[in-house]
């Protein structure tokens, strides 16, 4: 009698403990895989951002090679930039002298609520050094 009740009570406790552990593992696994999934998604965003960053540099480089960063005409700079920028991005370019004074700038305004990446390229405008800065963001 004594032996029977011992087996019953121990057996029940064991089963509850096992179920408890299984549920705990299940929950931990779900949390783990969900975080892994979002971490993976974040990596995909990094790649998209890198692509956008590189696209911005490409546009400024081509404008430099075409000698358009030398222009003083805002419309020329603006239209050349639009022609080179991929359709899914928008850009703004600003050229400053070495003291940070504005030489020429395109018209678009970078949004405040979405991701904007920026870079710069050291250039020569004839015999004067200048900095071409760009901002790029998804359309």
């Amino acid at each position: 009698m004594n032996r029977q009740s011992l087996t019953l009570s121990s057996g029940n406790k064991g089963a509850i403990f096992s179920i408890d552990v299984a549920i705990a593992f299940f929950i931990v696994a779900i949390v783990l895989f969900t975080s892994a999934y979002y971490a993976g998604r974040q990596n995909q965003d990094y790649l998209a951002n890198l692509q956008m960053y590189k696209a911005g540099y490409d546009v400024v480089t081509v404008l430099d090679y075409k000698n358009i960063l030398n222009t003083t005409d805002n419309i020329t700079l603006q239209s050349s930039m639009y022609n080179l920028t991929a359709v899914n991005y928008l850009m703004k370019i600003r050229i400053d002298d070495t003291n940070g004074a504005l030489i020429i700038m395109t018209n678009d305004t970078a949004p405040t609520e979405s991701l904007v990446l920026s870079g710069e390229r050291p250039i020569m405008r004839d015999t004067t050094q200048a900095i071409a800065r760009f901002w790029i963001w998804p359309r």
């Binding site: 064991g14 593992f25 783990l32 400024v60 480089t61 070495t98 710069e120 020569m124």
Partner: protein, 276 residues
């Protein structure tokens, strides 16, 4: 009882094994996330560096061509250097220094330019073997005599030295000739349409000497030990030296060494920008 104890131990071991598996999985995911971020930062730094190098190459080359009057051209059969012997490199160095300063400012790098303002050494290298210089075109542009030395392995099959002068006459001729297999042509041209040509098959390893008579000032060419030395004490000449060899895969490097040191990103680069 012993059987139950054994079961309990196995159960505990199973749980421990499962827990360890989960723990190692979470550790792997964490490490993967960290390394992805590291790759991302490296990729951003790499894009910035790539842009810096492309900008520097482009602007140093543009400044060189815009400030010196030098023309370096290449085709399948050779490379031609054309320049006025009166040209100096001062304007180029002033503007290249300005550009170097803006690079330092924008990129926060320690960038230094090393050059010799009176001796410009244009190395011609194989693009796939950038370290081994085969041919060099060296311009000494200090005061007094102008000297051009073409250093050459025996890869140049023929030379054409063309001199364009404001003198009204002149005759190209050879004083000493060591016969060999290298075709050497000297062409002298003047403003009134006169032209004098002299051609010899010479050995570049032995001594040969050529000159131009009739010029107001001296102009001569010495070939010896594989090198061609052109000397003149008159500046107002346009010299065009064509070196014929298989030039398809060759590059001409600017004689200005650029050292970049970006210690924060562990980026160091020491190189000569390409002008061709």
């Amino acid at each position: 009882m012993a059987k139950m104890r054994k079961k309990a131990i196995l159960f505990t071991l199973g749980m421990v094994f499962l827990a360890l598996s989960l723990l190692s999985l979470s550790f792997l995911i964490y490490r993967n996330s960290l390394s992805s971020r590291e790759i991302d930062y490296n990729a951003i730094a790499s894009i910035r560096m790539q842009n810096l190098f492309s900008a520097a190459d482009y602007h140093f080359t543009s400044l060189f061509y815009n400030n010196t009057g030098f023309k370096v051209t290449k085709n399948e059969t050779g490379i031609t250097f054309r320049h006025n012997l009166d040209d100096n490199f001062n304007a180029f160095f002033i503007n290249a220094n300005k550009y170097n300063n803006i690079v330092n400012k924008v990129y926060g790098v320690t960038s230094t330019m090393l050059f010799n303002s009176t001796e410009m050494f244009f190395n011609i290298t194989k693009s796939l073997k950038a370290t081994s210089s085969q041919i060099a075109y060296n311009v000494y542009s200090g005061t007094g005599n102008k000297t051009i030395v073409i250093y050459d392995e025996p890869s140049v099959s023929s030379y054409t030295i063309r001199v364009n002068s404001t003198d009204s006459n002149g005759t190209a001729g050879w004083g000493t000739v060591s016969p060999g297999n290298t075709n050497f042509v000297i062409i002298v041209e003047g403003q009134s349409g006169w032209r004098s040509t002299s051609q010899q098959q010479i050995s570049t390893s032995s001594f040969s000497f050529a000159g131009v008579s009739g010029f107001a000032n001296s102009f001569n060419i010495t070939i010896n030990g594989g090198n061609v030395t052109i000397r003149t004490d008159t500046g107002n000449l346009i010299l065009e030296a064509t070196l014929n060899f298989s030039a398809a895969s060759n590059e001409v490097l600017l004689p200005v060494k650029i050292d970049y040191n970006m210690s924060s990103s562990n980026v160091f680069r020491s190189y000569y920008p390409r002008i061709l």
